[in-house]
């Protein structure tokens, strides 16, 4: 009888494996470590779609959010565009700059994208792809948070949400004092 009662333990043999698989959810595979974090951000000088110069150095002293996007990047870029616009409007007076870098895109499609979401922060095409290479962009969208001294402090892969934007920007603003 004692032997028999032990058979009920058989199903428990599977638990460690199932637990390990469950653990997999806790691991964030989006968390691609960027060697650029805490390094000075690469400078760039592009011409925005509205025809103005867009230079990173011009915003030294402000917290800068550099967002890499493309009009063909659906749905993530379409999801985050209103988020960026909303937060840019909320934060611009507090010393925050948002810059959009459009990569591997056709200008007319990109213009339509900007119109569709009535984006008011500057957006520029990265015609040679040099900026995205400098920033080690894997795919779009990716967003870099740069502090007032010009160092990259955080990288976000995937669509930016209100939470992410506020958390990162508030942290950098608080530092700046």
């Amino acid at each position: 009888m004692k032997r028999r009662s032990l058979h009920w333990l058989i199903p428990f043999a599977a638990l460690p494996v199932l637990a390990l698989l469950a653990y997999g959810f806790r691991v964030n595979h989006r968390d691609i470590p960027s060697p650029l974090v805490n390094r000075p951000a690469g400078t760039f000088a592009l011409t925005s779609y509205s025809g103005e110069a867009m230079r990173l150095e011009a915003y030294r002293g402000r917290v800068v959010v550099v967002n890499f996007w493309a009009s063909w990047c659906m749905p993530a870029c379409y999801e985050e565009a209103p988020v960026l616009e909303r937060n840019w409007r909320a934060y611009r007076e507090k010393g925050v700059m948002v810059l959009g870098v459009d990569i591997q895109d056709k200008p007319e499609a990109a213009r339509k994208f900007i119109d569709q979401f009535s984006l008011t922060f500057p957006n520029a095409l990265d015609p040679s792809g040099k900026v995205s290479v400098d920033y080690g962009v894997y795919g779009v969208p990716e967003t870099f948070f740069i502090d007032a001294r010009g160092n990259i402090r955080a990288k976000h892969v995937g669509a930016v949400t209100d939470d992410v934007f506020r958390r990162e920007v508030d942290r950098l603003l608080a530092e700046r004092g």
Binding site: H7, W8, A14, L18, A22, G24, H29, P75, V140
Partner: protein, 651 residues
């Protein structure tokens, strides 16, 4: 309207499947046939609904209905109609629809075939099939809805992943999923056997052809996957031990073990517990594979996009594993073996060893696949084990399996006599050993290659010995040669189907061995007109041109290949630039041969076309893998045909 109609069908089908699962179970428990019949109607209804859902999705793709998020994500106006059809199952949501449809189809076939001939199991089989269906329909309703509406509907879609624009993508997932879902049927019967306590060999007899059919489709899916990898991905190989490949390979290994171990149960009434355990393991591994490819838990090159779907799969996998093992524990006494092993030198023990090796291979593959997760959980570091680990561990196992492939079918049951051994194995051993010397004499220096090829010869000779002996017996009975040859295959189709499958596997083994041992490659940067030599072939860079080609921009190079003998050949490796993709896709150009495959991949190039980097490969004997696949197909067809003589003879 399409999103709402489709979504409605999914919900109704889900409710119907859930109802049917419960009704069949209650009907089976209480013996109320009316309930089982009602569940049967539910199963037919689910099949009709899922079929309509699949057709509706295909219609949405054909008509560019971008109001469906799934359509917009996976097609655009430039996608040709045949890729719009394959896009139906090209990504996560659609693959689940196809999956569910196949389970529904199999359920329909069960209703048609086993309604009367498996009365004792039927209600429980329906319960399991409908539960699995209900789960997949739940996935279609909540975490991965194919009929989700996107507002506002975009003017154009994103487009299909260019790597999936290939004919292999029509057949590869279909074959693979037919295999995966087909394995649900033996599982359903095993659970029914446990639930009813009828754990004898009836359920095995009923599911033998199901198991071999599913096994065949799984094999085919793996082979087509290898072919796709070889001619599309452009890294020159057909198997990379990627987690997703492993996910499909593990159930193949355990299903192979099952196909062999059932024979012991049929003849010797042994291994009841083992067989049920194998079926449960196999089905769990198919779910694990789906979980792996769709949860994003383990990073892989061809993982689907991720989401909460992983949680659903893990929950379902847990329910399946825990319930099955619980039932197994409950029936433990009834599952204890009746027969005993008489001798180590017997067919039982050869098959048993084959099973042990296959399961060992499964565990090493499983371990290697989840290793990154394990190391992160235990040590906090992300580490993966690569191809070297899998090769090192598995090559000896596979060599052992090839050896047993020669021994198992010919050695006697119970206890092999000296006479039996001499009659069957003297010639194969002599010829096999002689071939090892021959290969060495021909200049083969890799020990593994020599062992592998000599074992292959050994097994091939055992098959020939057996076939010729049977043929001679028939000739003595006065049959003419050709009818005797054909008659053997047809009358003992199960046995000779198995042999033909073994031959197919041998040919594949030769291909794998040859390609691993003798393939050559080099990279070179060439000015226009320059050439590079490899394995006696001269590859001359002639030209580089570019043009718009349908939905992408194409940069194409031209290489002239000569090998000293007559005839030149032109190969045109290219790079394709798709607007929706970050990096260009290499388009491999190749020439397949029985021994040498010429294989060119274009690397970087100068914009003015004056210079190009190219990877040149001469891959050896890869074609044997695909030929082996054809032989395997013939064998499988033979083995799947209804049985004729075998049983009567040896029972």
């Amino acid at each position: 309207m399409i999103p709402e109609i489709g979504y409605g069908m999914v919900i109704v089908a889900f409710l119907l499947a859930g109802y049917g699962a419960v009704a069949a179970g209650v009907g089976g428990r209480t013996g109320r046939t009316a309930l089982v019949e009602s569940a049967q109607h539910a199963a037919l209804g689910v099949f009709a609904l899922v079929t309509c859902a699949l057709l509706l999705l295909a219609y949405a793709f054909l008509t560019f209905d971008f109001s469906l998020r799934y359509v917009a994500m996976n097609t655009n106006l430039a996608t040709p109609y045949y890729y719009r059809l394959t896009a139906v199952w090209g990504a996560l949501e659609g693959s689940i629809v196809l999956w569910a449809w196949m389970v529904a189809l199999y359920t329909l076939i069960i209703v048609l075939r086993h309604r009367h001939n498996a009365r004792e199991f039927y209600p429980w089989v329906l319960t399991v099939m409908l539960s699995v269906l209900a789960f997949f329909l739940l996935v279609m309703a909540v975490p991965a809805p194919p009929f989700e509406r996107i507002t506002p509907a975009p003017m154009n879609g994103r487009g299909l992943n260019p790597l999936l624009e290939d004919s292999g993508m029509i057949t590869h997932p279909v074959a693979l999923y037919l295999g995966f879902t087909g394995l649900t049927v033996p599982f359903a019967f095993a659970i029914a056997a446990l639930a009813t306590g009828r754990v004898g060999d009836r359920w095995i007899t009923l599911t033998r052809r199901w198991a071999i059919t599913a096994w065949y489709f799984l094999s085919l899916g793996l082979l087509i996957g290898g072919w796709w990898s070889y001619h599309v991905l452009g890294w020159g190989g057909y198997w990379a031990w990627d987690p997703v490949e492993n996910a499909a390979f593990m159930p193949w290994l355990t299903a192979t073990a099952f196909l062999h171990s059932v024979m012991i149960q049929e003849r010797r009434r042994m291994l009841k517990l083992w067989n049920i355990g194998l079926v449960i393991l196999t089905f769990s591994l198919t779910l694990f594979g789906t979980f792996l490819t769709r949860s994003g838990v383990i990073a892989s090159v061809h993982a689907f996009t991720q989401g909460s779907i992983g949680m659903f799969f893990l929950a379902f996998l847990s329910i399946v594993v825990l319930t099955s093992l619980g039932l197994l524990a409950w029936r433990w006494e009834a599952l204890s073996a009746e027969g005993e092993l008489d001798s180590v030198v017997s067919r039982e023990s050869a098959f048993l060893l084959n099973n042990v090796l296959l399961v060992a291979a499964t565990f090493t593959v499983f371990f290697g696949t989840v290793f990154p997760l394990l190391s992160e959980a235990v040590r906090g570091v992300k580490v993966s084990v690569g191809a070297p680990f899998f090769n090192q561990v598995n090559i000896p196992v596979f060599l052992g399996l090839i050896f047993l492939m020669g021994v198992g079918p010919l050695i006697a049951w119970r206890r092999a006599s000296r006479d039996n051994l001499r009659r069957n194995f003297v010639w194969p051993v002599i010829i096999g050993a002689a071939s090892a010397g021959l290969f060495f004499g021909l200049g083969v220096r890799s020990t593994i290659a020599i062992i592998s090829l000599a074992l292959t010869v050994f097994v091939a000779v055992t098959i020939a010995v057996d076939y010729l002996r049977a043929l001679r017996a028939r000739r003595r009975m006065g049959e003419a040669l050709l009818p005797a040859m054909g008659g053997l295959l047809v009358r003992h189709n199960r046995r000779y189907g198995g042999f033909v499958i073994h031959l197919g596997i041998l040919v594949i083994a030769v291909g794998v061995t040859g390609s691993q041992a003798w393939s050559l490659h080099r990279e070179a940067t060439l000015q226009r007109g320059e050439s590079v030599e490899l394995a006696g072939y001269k590859f001359q860079f002639d030209n580089l041109s570019s043009r718009e080609a349908g939905n992408h921009f194409l940069v194409e190079s031209t290489f002239k290949v000569t090998n000293g003998k007559a005839g030149t050949r032109e190969l045109r490796p290219a790079k394709k630039f798709y607007p929706q993709e970050q990096s260009p896709i290499a388009h491999v150009d190749y020439h397949l041969g029985l021994v040498d495959d010429l294989y060119l991949v274009l690397g970087d190039f100068a914009r003015d076309g004056s210079q190009a980097t190219v990877k040149v490969q001469v891959n050896r004997m890869v074609s044997w893998i695909w030929i082996g696949g054809f032989i395997l197909t013939l064998g499988a067809i033979l083995a799947i045909l209804p049985e004729r003589g075998e049983r009567r003879k040896t029972a």
